[in-house]
């Protein structure tokens, strides 16, 4: 049983989230601005915080900064601003994830689950040889097993090989042709198109929101890369 603090100045959004999360079996605590959120976090044992950025009195960014002074509880920011700079600021200040409004409730639940799993069960310490980890994604090469937040994911052999190539070089950009040559072991003759399709499928399997991927990124016009897993 996890306690989730929901904080938004729009009461309808808070209660909608409350309904979704309660139905998933979480206990919720509600707050309507940053100050209340801080107070609630002091008085209760909180396992995760869902927080809006634009709030009266104390906004989400400052509340996050305050919370981070003595707690490493996962914080997911809800934001109506879709600019990249806002997202980067939120993540830099100490938030673990962000969801842009208007959001899909299923995505919220998926992200909540992901954060909770990593916060509670995965210490990140059980790393063995042949184990590649990037963010929530782990790859056990000996068992040919890929897990996201501890949940196993079923991949085709080609998808697995592409993922392995990208995960062994996090941050490095591979063009479609490079990936094709490495995975198929064939020279590329304009058949890279298949690489793009495979990567899209792969993204659908390992990303919560494939249209806005967190880890398996598309570098438009240059290729694909795996983000360096800092979280």
């Amino acid at each position: 049983m996890y306690n989730i603090l929901i904080c938004d100045d729009d009461k309808d959004i808070v209660s909608a989230l409350d309904i979704y999360l309660t139905s998933e079996g979480y206990r919720t605590i509600k707050a309507y601005n940053g100050r209340e959120a801080l107070k609630a976090a002091e008085q209760n044992e909180i396992h995760l915080i869902l927080m809006d950025i634009m709030m009266p009195e104390l906004d989400g960014i400052r509340t996050t900064a305050k919370l981070r002074e003595d707690s490493n509880v996962p914080i997911i920011l809800l934001t109506a601003k879709s600019e990249d700079s806002d997202k980067i600021l939120g993540l830099n200040i100490g938030a673990d994830d962000y969801i842009t409004k208007p959001f899909n409730p299923l995505e919220v639940i998926a992200r909540v689950k992901s954060q909770l799993r990593r916060y509670t069960s995965l210490g990140g310490a059980d790393r063995g040889p042949g184990l590649l980890t990037v963010g929530p994604i782990s790859m056990d090469d000996s068992a040919k097993q890929v897990t996201v937040d501890g949940e196993p994911v079923a991949l085709t052999p080609i998808e697995y090989n592409i993922l392995k190539l990208l995960m062994s070089h996090p941050g490095q950009v591979f063009s479609s042709a490079q990936i094709y040559e490495q995975v198929w072991n064939d020279p590329a003759y304009g058949s890279e198109n298949t690489v793009a399709v495979h990567i899209r499928h792969l993204r659908e399997k390992i990303e919560i929101n494939p249209a806005d991927p967190r880890w398996l990124k598309v570098v438009w016009g240059l290729g694909y890369k795996m983000e360096k897993g800092s979280v």
């Binding site: 729009d10 309808d12 959004i13 909608a16 989230l17 309904i19 979704y20 634009m54 109506a80 601003k81 879709s82 409004k101 208007p102 959001f103 899909n104 409730p105 063009s175 479609s176 042709a177 304009g190 890279e192 198109n193 690489v195 793009a196 399709v197 990567i199 899209r200 598309v218 570098v219 438009w220 016009g221 240059l222 290729g223």
Partner: protein, 694 residues
């Protein structure tokens, strides 16, 4: 610097020094000038020497005549003597002259001869010859006849002296000719001269003059140098006084006193009057001084020394006053020039300015056409006159050439300025609204034109700025409104989702919920597109251009879209050139452009047709065209398609916001590319062109 300039002590000191140095300089100058009379050349060539020599000559002649008289009286036992006193006087005179002319008393050396060469009288020693003792031997002739009767083989001049029947002539010429002259005519010859270095034992007027000349030539150089130094120092003092003039302690800039407000001509007139009187006095003093100087150097009177020095003081004082007066005039002119009030405080300048302005206004009031015609007629007339006159007089030819050269210069000036004007208007026409034409030193008519152009560009620039501001404001408004819309939209989407999860018995309710779900999703897409469109069109998006592979990007885009297009039974046919094609673009923005175009295909292309993707490169440009067959008839021009909220079909029932092409065009232009659409029947073609990267 300012402190030095405004120090009253410095000013007073400089004026005092100016006067002192002027006084001293004039003093020394006068002394030098008077010395120069004696110091330049041999002392025997001075005017004073010839005066002294003439006096001695006359004394000698008198002595000679007296001696002849005495001899005559003696020969006749004084029977012709009328008066005892006269006789006594004559004897006395002869004796005095004999003493004064003796070799012990004077440096003057002489020889008196009769015409047959017998030496009658001389103060030379036994074996001395006159030509050895003196440098220059002077000859004079005493003759009872007028010398005009004689032959002209030598030159002579009559002196003013005449004694009875005898006349005295100064003679220049060879001694040989003198011999032939004296052969036939009864004359007495006076030969005389002064040694170039008179014996020191003798003290007479010649030794005095010699002494004076030696002293003067020793003094001359130091005096000249002293006078020059004083003059330079006085000039420096004057310069300092003019430099500091008008500056006052504790005040910025130039302070004008009441004398500087009076007309400068009053100062000028006063100065001229004062100078006139000073000059008059100076001339008087100089006259006196010169006569005194003559007397002094001829050593006739030695008592004039104090008077001479008094006169030099008077002249110096007058000169100093003159210099002071002129300096005061210069000072007021300097102050006026420094304070930029010279023209305002000068009657002449004011009158000239008024005249110039009046004439200019008159000329400018004539219309341009008439002015041009008048100018041409004037030029033509002058040309004609000068040219025709030039055939007789070269001066007119020169004037004619000058006139035409000046006209050429004026035309060049006009042309240069016209070109400047045209460049300015070209800049304006090409959209550089901040270009201002330099209007300084332009012909007046062009200047007026240039100022009009400048005003237009300023007006247009401000209008454009205003428009940009309002566009940006609009974008901000749209963004803010969209943010505000997103919050209630979030609730709607969430509650529709919750509603879907509830049990609904009525099948109609399920249908309604489905509509709500679809429309809320569409609303979400619309708000997102709206924000993007407004941002893209106002250019507030940041653009990071880098080298992008077009083939890679198309490949990636197709990877995203293949399955959705296949669902619509659309086949993609892509024609890419060999190898990678590199462009300069922002990858994310370019992806949005291609994403929008493919999304358009998915939405509006007729099912079962082909979509053509063509990539071409050439002339530094890379073009990507997307062609598809529209499902609906495209009955609107391509320009309209790119406007916001315009879609190929008017019913607006399909998904899509109508912003896709507008966003694509704005984003392409942000990256420095061009975006064009073409519609041919049902064939829809979009082309994105970008600069190629090497």
């Amino acid at each position: 610097m300012a402190r030095i300039q405004s120090s009253p002590v410095g000013k007073l000191l400089s004026w005092a020094l100016l006067l002192v140095f002027t006084f001293a300089g004039v003093q020394m100058g006068l002394s030098a000038a008077s010395s120069a009379i004696l110091a330049v050349g041999d002392w025997q060539s001075t005017a004073a020497f010839s005066v002294l020599l003439q006096e001695r000559r006359d004394q000698l002649a008198q002595y000679f005549i007296d001696s002849i008289d005495w001899d005559f009286l003696l020969a006749n036992d004084f029977s012709y003597t009328q008066d005892e006193m006269d006789l006594m006087q004559l004897q006395d005179d002869i004796q005095t002259a004999e003493t004064e002319l003796s070799a012990e008393a004077t440096a003057f050396r002489y020889q008196l001869r009769t015409s047959d060469g017998t030496v009658f009288k001389s103060n030379l020693g036994e074996d001395e010859r006159l030509s050895q003792v003196v440098d220059q031997v002077y000859y004079s002739i005493l003759s009872p006849q007028t010398l005009s009767d004689l032959d002209g083989s030598f030159q002579w001049s009559t002196s003013s002296l005449e004694w009875g029947s005898l006349s005295l002539y100064d003679v220049w010429g060879g001694r040989g000719t003198l011999g032939t002259l004296t052969g036939s005519v009864p004359v007495y010859i006076l030969a005389y001269g002064v040694p170039s270095v008179p014996p020191e034992t003798i003290s007479d007027e010649f030794t005095a003059l010699y002494q004076n000349c030696s002293t003067a030539s020793a003094q001359f150089l130091p005096l000249i140098i002293g006078a020059s130094v004083c003059g330079i120092l006085a000039l420096i003092a004057l310069g300092y006084a003019l430099w500091t003039a008008g500056h006052k302690a504790g005040q910025e800039g130039i302070t004008l006193f009441w004398p500087e407000h009076a007309f400068v001509e009053i100062h000028l007139l006063t100065t001229l009057i004062v100078l006139f009187f000073l000059l008059w006095g100076g001339l008087q003093a100089t006259d006196t001084y010169l006569s005194l100087l003559n007397a002094y150097y001829s050593a006739v009177s030695t008592s004039t020394a104090t008077e001479t020095s008094l006169m030099t003081y008077v002249i110096s004082l007058l000169s100093t006053l003159a210099v002071g007066t002129v300096s005061l005039l210069l000072r007021t002119i300097a102050v006026r020039c420094k304070g930029h009030s010279f023209v305002k405080t000068s009657v002449i300048c004011l009158v000239i300015r008024w005249l110039v302005l009046t004439i200019r206004d008159f000329i400018l009031s004539i219309p341009l056409t008439w002015r041009v015609i008048m100018a041409f007629l004037l030029y033509f007339f002058l040309n004609l006159v000068l040219f025709t006159q030039g055939q007789y007089n070269e001066l007119f030819t020169g004037l004619w050439l000058c006139l035409n050269f000046l006209v050429l210069l004026a035309l060049c000036w006009w042309t240069v300025n016209f070109r400047r004007l045209r460049k300015g208007s070209q800049a304006l026409a090409s959209g550089n609204l901040h270009h201002q034409i330099e209007t300084q030193r332009m012909p007046r008519d062009l200047k007026l034109y240039a100022e009009d152009l400048n005003n237009i560009s300023v007006g247009m620039a401000s209008a454009v700025d205003e428009q940009m501001k309002s566009e940006r404001f609009k974008a901000e408004l749209i963004t803010n409104v969209s943010h505000d819309l997103k919050t209630p939209l979030t609730s709607i989407i969430n509650y529709v989702n919750l509603l879907k999860a509830t049990r609904q018995d009525d099948p109609k309710a399920l249908e309604y919920i489905e509509v709500l779900d679809r429309k809320s999703q569409r609303l979400k897409k619309l708000t997102e597109d709206l924000v993007e469109a407004s941002k893209a069109s106002t250019g507030v998006l940041s653009v990071n251009r880098e080298k992008i592979g077009m083939a890679q990007l198309i490949d990636q885009a197709l990877g995203e879209w293949t399955e959705k297009l296949e669902e619509r039974k659309l086949t993609v046919v892509s024609n890419l050139p060999e190898g990678e094609t590199w462009v300069y673009a922002d990858g994310r923005h370019l992806w949005r452009v291609i994403d929008n175009l493919l999304s358009n295909c998915a939405k509006y292309a007729m099912e079962g047709t082909r979509v053509y993707l063509d990539l071409t490169r050439g002339k530094g440009q890379v073009s990507l065209s997307v062609k598809n067959i529209s499902r609906e008839a495209l009955n609107i021009p391509p320009e309209r398609l790119m406007e916001r909220f315009v879609r190929g079909e008017e019913s607006r029932t399909t998904e899509g916001s109508g912003l896709g092409l507008s966003i694509a065009r704005s984003l392409t232009e942000l990256q420095g590319g061009t975006f064009s659409l073409a519609v041919d029947g049902d064939l829809f073609k979009a082309t994105v062109s970008l600069p190629q990267a090497n």
